[in-house]
Amino acid sequence: MAEQSSVAVPQVNIKMKRIVEALLFAAEQPMSVAQLQAVFPELEMPERVVIEAAVDALCEDYKNQAIGLHQVASGYRFQVKTDMAPWVARLFAEKPPKYSRALLETIAIIAYQQPVTRGDIEEIRGVSVSSNMINTLLDREWIKVVAHKETPGRPALYATTAQFLDYFNLDSLAAMPPLQELQALALKGEMEI
């Protein structure tokens, strides 16, 4: 790759390489060349070849590290090299991953308020809900899209699945713990009226 770049591809721009490196590490999903280009202001948007040259140079930079840059279907992503797999496996056995508070809040809102749209969840949480979070829950098959709301954009309506209930060993949603706060809040609402 490095050899190619000295022939036809433009000189690797060091600053560009650093920017692409930072973006690929910070993004939590693979990024395509087009997505990388879109990060730049319109007038400064680099050409495809410039991004590609930066990517090639990064592949070279990380050749001997424990992680490397790989191309997957949806773009480029830094990955742990396969020879490190046994160690990474030991790490996860030692320190099982945890869900973020934001994700727990999201699944809690879906469970107790279903069917809800992402917008509904955002409204209740008061902050935006990332696609990543929804995807994690869909991947885990804890939630599913039950319908689309007939409003502009036809947002998906999410509900919990049977797998979600199975995981928590519940036979129905009604078996979820009742929330005292919920009742207190409802009472308060009635008093205001």
């Binding site: 279903q114 309506l157 713990p177 919920l182």
Partner: protein
Amino acid sequence: MSDGLVANVGTVTAMVAGRPYLNFPDDLYIPPEALEVFLATFEGPLDLLLYLIRKQNLDIVNIPIAQITKQYMVYIEVMSNFQFELAAEYLLMAALLAEIKSRMLLPKRISTEDDEEDPRAVLVRRLQEYERIKKAAEALDELPRMERDIFIATVDTSKVNVHKPKPEVQLQDIVSALQGVLRRVDQLSHHTITKEALSVRERMAAIMAKLEGSDSFLFARFFTHQEGRAGVVIAFLAILELSKAELIEILQAEPFGELRIRARLGIGNG
């Protein structure tokens, strides 16, 4: 805080401070809402006092209590003239200032002079303490922090061919996450969380799933008689709830005809 607003109010007070009355000349009138915003920019009476001291370049370790008390009272009176709900702390501070001022008027008794502390000392120390926390909070806000300046480098581990265990979650984690949300909702009272029984929520989701991709169903198709009376009630409540949320439509082709349920069609794309 808006500089323009602060400057504005500052001018008014300067004009008013020297005078024993609080009638605003017409050209200096500030709408009460603006005063409210102004007051809202302060974190409490200490913050307001600090502002008054700093605005006049007074020395915090040797504040002229009479002068500062007079100005503070002007603000408080302006606020109460507009019938703002002043937090009790502001009134408490007014009382404290008045007390300090009156104690300073009293002749000191020779015998106790040594052990009697200057009545201003406690207040000045509190102001100093508060000011340094205020500065520390500003410095903290400037520190590089996650989400704004610090971004974690992440890599994909799914390709290393190891079984990555899924995070384990206890039901209690979900309940406490929701409780956290509810506490916040409580704070921002304009959001409402409805309190339908979960069985109704579950049925609502099931009905939507059934309607997805279908045209419509007869009303009766959603009632499962095997579940008995409770099941019928839950289905009925779920349908009413969905209708209220404008997710479904209940249609009747002719008077006394059978009711049909269908997913609601949007106005723009129906």
